[in-house]
């Protein structure tokens, strides 16, 4: 999995490319935790390049969301495809995440 980052204002947009599954999920989790720590939680996950998410990936997203919730923040996902959104909906995890149609909306939510 390739993880690209880009600042939009003071918000770090993290764009993982490739399936969020298996061992990549741990790598992703570690990376996100570092980004969250460095940027005081101003992080958006651009899921436009995530083709699918397996159970491990869902668990990772859920863990990150729970960690952020302890500091009054939410995990902001944007541009997730239909497959990823359906998986999140079906597993009942959608209340844990804030989903935005595009990066701009997600970044704007920090205002």
């Amino acid at each position: 999995m390739e993880i690209k980052t880009q600042y939009r204002g003071a918000v770090l947009v993290v764009r993982p490319a490739g399936p969020l599954a298996g061992p990549d999920a741990d790598t992703f989790k570690t990376a996100i935790q570092g980004f969250v720590r460095e940027n005081l939680g101003r992080v958006v996950i651009d899921a436009s390049a995530l083709p699918y998410v397996d159970s491990k990936g869902l668990e990772t997203l859920s863990d990150i969301a729970e960690e952020l919730a302890l500091s009054g923040k939410g995990l902001k996902l944007c541009a997730a495809n239909e497959t990823v959104r359906q998986v999140i909906e079906l597993t009942g995890l959608s209340p844990q995440f804030e989903h935005f149609e595009d990066t701009n909306s997600a970044v704007r939510s920090f205002l």
Partner: protein, 627 residues
Amino acid sequence: MQTDRPVTAGPEAHSDALGTRSRLFAMRRELLRGDSLFALIIFAVVALFLVNLVASIWRNMVFQKDVTQKASVQQAKAVGTMLARAAESLMETNGLSTLRRTVAETALEYNLRVCRILLPNGAILADADPAAITLIDLPASWEGEAPAYAEEFARQSARFAYPLTIPGRGSATLRIAAGVDDRLDASLVPQTSQMAIACLALASMLLVHRHSRFRLKAIGAIHEILMAVRDEGADISTLELDPKLGAEAVAWNKLLGDRQATQVRSAIQQVKEVAHEKSESAGAFGAAFDAVPSGLAFVNRALQIEHVNGAAAVFLQAARAQLLHVPVATAIKDERVVAAVREAAENPAAKRAVIEVEQGCTVTAGVLRFAVVPIRDGQSHFALVTIEDITQQRVATAAMNSFLAKAAHELRTPLTNIRLFVEEALEHCEKNPVAASRCLNVVNDETQRLDRTVAEILSASQIEAGSFELKRDDVHLDEMLAKLKADHEAQAKEKRIAYEFDLPPKLPILQADRDKIALALHNLVGNALKYTLDGGRIVVSAQVEKSRLSVSVSDTGIGISPEEIEKVFEKFYRSKNPLATNVKGSGLGLPIAREVARLHGGDVVAESELGKGSTFTLILPLVEESA
């Protein structure tokens, strides 16, 4: 509860009455519960009576035995005396055979163990046992003195020696030994037995009475307690009975114990429930504390952090445990904030202080706003520190300021041109119509440029505000591309750029926002014309694939470096390429084109090679999607 308290009686009188009643009740219960003095006296009297009865029986038996023994001795003694007189007489008259028969019969009659007559030389003249006789005939006379009268008592026998004096013959001795009868009188046995039976019966009755008294005492005590509970209520600790009262008391105590245990369990359960509720309340408070997106920290007068939430821990970049109960100066490095906290913690009347702290050298490194207010809680007071991350607001404000400055610049340039050329046209309108016409053409161009700039700024503002909405309609792409070609042909011709369209014979009709799609395409072609040098080439092509339409604008322009390929989609971004610095532009064209495409469910992607040219492709889905 009903009371008999007189109406005029005060609380103290009522209290005294209750106290006396309670004491009497306790005394009564005490008498019923344990071994009372009365019961002890009764028991002692009966025991004394029994002992006395037994002693009387024993004394009677001893007396009877003594009497019997004495009677036996007296009888033996009398028999001996009588036999001695008879022997003297018979020996004097030489009636030896009669003497011997008399001795034998007397011995047999009175059950004498020994009965014999001895001469002083030891010869046995007569004996109860004829075989023991050693002297057959009675001598005419003999020598020697017989011993004096003697008597000897052993355990169960009495021995007597009577001196016999036979005139003309000599002296002799009568010895008898009689068994002393110590057997009780037969008439005493039934009497003694009856007394013994009576004693046993009395003892049994005493035991039965004692046992039943215990049982009845337990039941009576329980009854009293139940009545007391009914009338007054009672402390459960005073209701226990002496276990010695028997199984009923033990069972009663067990019931009380069970009830106490139930009460204790109930109390524990209630305590647990209260504790649980408090815990839940504390948990809910803690959860709410953590759910606040702003960082919160309570600092006490000792300038130590008492409470801190998760957001504050994130903002202060430390684990929550590391922040608790540490000096505030350790957690917050900015001296202004620490000073404000000190002021608020020490002075409850301190004013609210707001301090903005930049974390690093750049704004994007983080800007935190610390608001410090004093909080009074009874006698104590705290300082509440609220921490907000205003970095994005700062960046947005900076971007807005930059946007306004650039927008003002973009507007000022064409407006300046318009003003200058209008003045020139006015000056030459009568004398030099050709120059005036040229000026008006420039004014026309600048007006169009101004119009586009204003439209772009408006679009960018709408995008920024989130109010960039689509008005979908049927879009005939072939017509739109034809107009696009016509609109830019003159500009391409002016720069001697080959402006070509490579389109399929038939293009689909889109469900899209016509004006915004047109705006996006104009921006792409306009950018290509701007950054393609004279003599270059621009090709607009369209491909219809399975579910999407791609419109590509390829040019042979200056190209974009890989580092800048994504940045060109940021608002107001201007390329660092020296060849691009002189190109006029708002820096909004590509961001708007991409935003338009994405709102339609598509995208704008760029491929470029520095110095060789670029290709920007507008991708739109053919299936209608919700924006």
